[in-house]
């Protein structure tokens, strides 16, 4: 009991670390991916657009604005150069269109008017430009046969209102699963930092100076102390995992009650086990508190950056993805991505996920074996 009490004292003294990393996890999972309502109908992507119409009197310019407003998210910004430039750089808007005065009249007269645009160059901006081109092309064609501006605008709007019926093959809650995968991928970071930092700090506290000497002269056998510490550390890791799973239910909600949600939980449990074994291994290696801080950050940030916890795996360069294979985090995050795409729970679909989990367990096994080897070596040396 004394050991448990000491364990809890060390934990509570460092609890702020856990609170800080949990806050980061919650913050990012709430603000980075916003889950929409479950929608089993197709929903078109809407680029963020800023529009200035300096050609207020023209029916055509007005119609162009109406069309773009219907298919884009129109963003309100102060009409100042710096505000617009900043919004573009920080991707608040994907595309900025300025319709100059006299645009409609020039267009109808067959001159070649100019539209001023600014673009982030990403796919949303490309799509916004496609829509702009589509309107202009259609209007150009109708200009050949339509006599008046009103007639032209009416024909363009009628033709552009035509929609292709679109069926959605998936019955998954795509945006909910996206958010869940983001949360569980990001979990790699707080779980690694929390487990390694806490477990190593506790182990160091029991090994350092007076505490170690007091334990040595106490009636409790060292094996028993180690057993209790192992149990307490495992319990701590389990509770930490449980808290994070609990938070995922609060933050993500409905998708966590689905079949995919269960897989996310199972996968994270296997990973939490692996991280615990890694933390116990490091506790055997690290004997310096200052080094521990650096090591925790390097392992936590390194594995998170390289294995897709912060940046989606598909966006990482090929070589980085190849290097990432040597970290258990990669297999854990890759499994999350497979769970995200899991349509049905058939054997064929779950085998790849189970394979990833098996590899994570294999890493855990290696960590346990190395830990045992190291402690045996240390005992022999002490003897």
């Amino acid at each position: 009991m004394t050991i448990y009490k000491a364990f809890l004292r060390v934990l509570s003294r460092n609890a702020w670390i856990l609170i800080m990393y949990s806050a980061i996890l919650i913050f990012f999972s709430i603000f980075s991916v916003q889950a929409n309502d479950v929608n089993l109908n197709f929903e078109a992507t809407r680029p963020d657009l800023y529009l200035t119409n300096n050609d207020e009197g023209s029916e055509l310019s007005h119609s162009l604005v109406k069309y773009l407003t219907a298919h884009n998210n129109i963003i309100e910004l102060p009409d100042e150069n710096d505000a617009l430039n900043d919004a573009l750089f920080y991707r608040r808007v994907n595309y900025i269109i300025t319709i100059p005065d006299g645009f409609g009249a020039d267009f109808l007269a067959g001159r070649e008017p100019t539209l001023i645009v600014q673009s982030t160059g990403d796919y949303n901006a490309a799509f916004a430009e496609m829509m702009l081109q589509r309107y202009l092309n259609t209007a150009q064609s109708y200009r050949l046969i339509d006599k008046s501006e009103t007639e032209l605008v009416r024909d363009v709007e009628r033709t552009l209102a035509m929609e292709v019926p679109t069926e959605l093959a998936t019955k998954r809650d795509v945006s909910g699963l996206e958010q869940a995968a983001f949360y569980y991928n990001f979990l790699n970071y707080p779980l690694i930092v929390g487990c390694i930092f806490m477990i190593c700090t506790v182990m160091l506290s029991f090994r350092e100076g007076k505490v170690a000497r007091r334990i040595a002269v106490s009636g409790t056998r060292p094996e028993q102390v180690n057993r209790v510490l192992l149990l307490a550390n495992s319990l701590f890791a389990f509770l930490l995992w449980l808290v994070y799973v609990g938070i995922s239910f609060l933050v993500i909600g409905r998708v966590m009650w689905s079949m995919q949600g269960l897989w996310f939980i199972l996968n994270s449990f296997v990973f939490a086990f692996c991280v615990t074994t890694l933390a116990l291994l490091l506790a055997n290696i690290v004997h310096n508190r200052n080094a521990l801080n650096g090591l925790t950050n390097v392992i936590g940030l390194g594995s998170s950056f390289l294995c897709g916890a912060f940046v989606p795996l598909v966006w990482l360069p090929e070589t980085v993805r190849l290097i990432a294979h040597v970290f258990p985090s990669y297999w854990y995050i890759d499994a999350n991505e497979k769970i995200k795409a899991l349509e049905t729970c058939t054997w064929d679909h779950v085998v790849p996920i189970l394979f990833n989990m098996a590899i994570v367990l294999a890493f855990a096994l290696v960590f346990v074996l190395v830990t045992n080897l190291l402690s045996r070596h240390a005992r022999r040396r002490a003897a």
Binding site: Y90, V117, Y123, F127, Q140, T166, G294, N297, F305, V320
Partner: protein, 376 residues
């Protein structure tokens, strides 16, 4: 006395391995990770050729406009290529969709296009939009043919609307990550300045007590200690620049002189924060380090280190917070040099940062000057 203290402060700093790690090595590790993780992220957001399928049945074979349009949109040598199209049966298309090999497939039914997509998203949206465009153009051609067939020949020679793209070439937002890293390096330097001051303070160390009772002029010791700290800070900063420029090939733009100037000033601001925390906060060394790390990391967070959106949110909703945040002033100054053709914003950031540095140094001098002990 000046150089003696300078030399020993240098030794003390360089032998504190934790300090060396956080101020010299950690920024390099972070730069490497940023480079590995972000080098492809902006390419990932560009429009790529989309894998699609078409149900190649009798209807498709009979519809020339759609065939031609898809051939054109899938042409490998075209710079405007949108699709990589496979012509398959319905069963094959379903399988390709289930295997996530295609974004969606098109089937013509009674002359009308019908689309099946894997899930909502940009690729499916572009596929739908392109099909609607083809259908729209076919409709327009039909109407022109009905109303005035002589105009059909003019379709290919219509005057175009010029779309003039006035976007800046410098739109790489991952640069902000490197700028926040420079800001972090500058401000982490505060830990070095703090270490130098701590060893001179009588309530922090035994050497401080000995110095307090010695006849050496305090200003000489403080200045030489801070000079040694600043030197180590600049070495760290130089290492970061050399590493990011030569190994990671980060381009700091054409105004490197100004980039370096702002970084030197930023380091001074970091030093000022360190000295202010060391002299104004009455606590142990660990608590003081904690304050510097917390101030730096929270400042970098608001400046966009963990996601550039945060900087934009604070800049637009609570600008005063970022106007007083040294990490943001450094980041924003570098951003202004990178993105804006004029220097107004840059000099604005430099002025505020200089002001903050002077105020902090002023407070520190005031605090250190009145330092007197009856006993320790």
């Amino acid at each position: 006395m000046f150089w003696h203290n300078f030399k020993y402060t240098l030794k003390i700093i360089l032998r504190d391995y934790a300090l060396v790690f956080w101020t010299l090595a950690f920024p390099l590790i972070m730069a490497t990770l940023f480079n590995l993780a972000f080098s492809n992220i902006e390419n990932g957001e560009r429009l790529k050729v989309i894998d699609v399928a078409v149900i190649d049945d009798g209807e498709w074979q009979a519809n020339k406009p759609f065939q031609e349009a898809f051939r054109e949109l899938s042409r490998e040598d075209s710079p405007d290529r949108l699709f990589d199209t496979r012509y398959v049966s319905r069963e094959e298309a379903n399988q390709l969709l289930a295997d996530e090999d295609i974004a969606g497939f098109l089937q013509l039914k009674s002359g009308h296009p019908e689309l099946t997509v894997a899930e909502s998203g940009i690729n499916a949206t572009i596929l739908k939009s392109a099909i609607e465009e083809i259908a729209t153009q076919s409709q327009v051609i039909r109407e022109i043919a009905q109303k005035d067939p002589t105009k059909l020949a003019q379709l290919g020679t219509l005057p175009t609307v010029e779309i003039e793209d006035q976007s800046s070439e410098h739109l790489s937002y991952t640069m902000i990550e490197y700028y926040t890293l420079i800001a972090m390096t500058c401000l982490y330097g505060g830990m070095i300045g703090m270490a130098a001051i701590n060893q001179l303070l009588a309530n922090m160390s035994t050497s401080g007590r000995r110095i307090a009772v010695s006849p050496s002029p305090k200003w000489k010791l403080i200045i030489s200690g801070l000079l040694a700290s600043y030197l180590v800070q600049l070495v760290g900063l130089a290492l970061l620049f050399v590493y990011t420029i030569t190994i990671l090939h980060v381009d700091y733009g054409p105004h490197f002189g100004l980039v370096a100037t702002l970084s030197l000033l930023g380091s001074l601001a970091g030093l000022a924060i360190g000295v202010a925390v060391a002299s104004l906060v009455r606590s142990n060394a660990n608590a003081k380090v904690g304050i510097i790390i917390a101030v730096t990391m929270f400042g970098c967070f608001l400046a966009g280190m963990m996601g550039i959106t945060m900087k934009y949110i604070v800049d637009t909703n609570l600008p005063i917070l970022n106007r007083l945040n040294p990490a943001n002033l450094i980041t924003d100054g570098l951003y202004a040099l990178y993105y804006y053709p004029t220097f107004d914003r840059f000099w604005g950031d430099v002025s505020v940062l200089t002001g903050i540095t002077i105020v902090l140094i002023g407070f520190s001098i005031w605090s250190l000057r009145k330092e007197q002990y009856d006993n320790l």
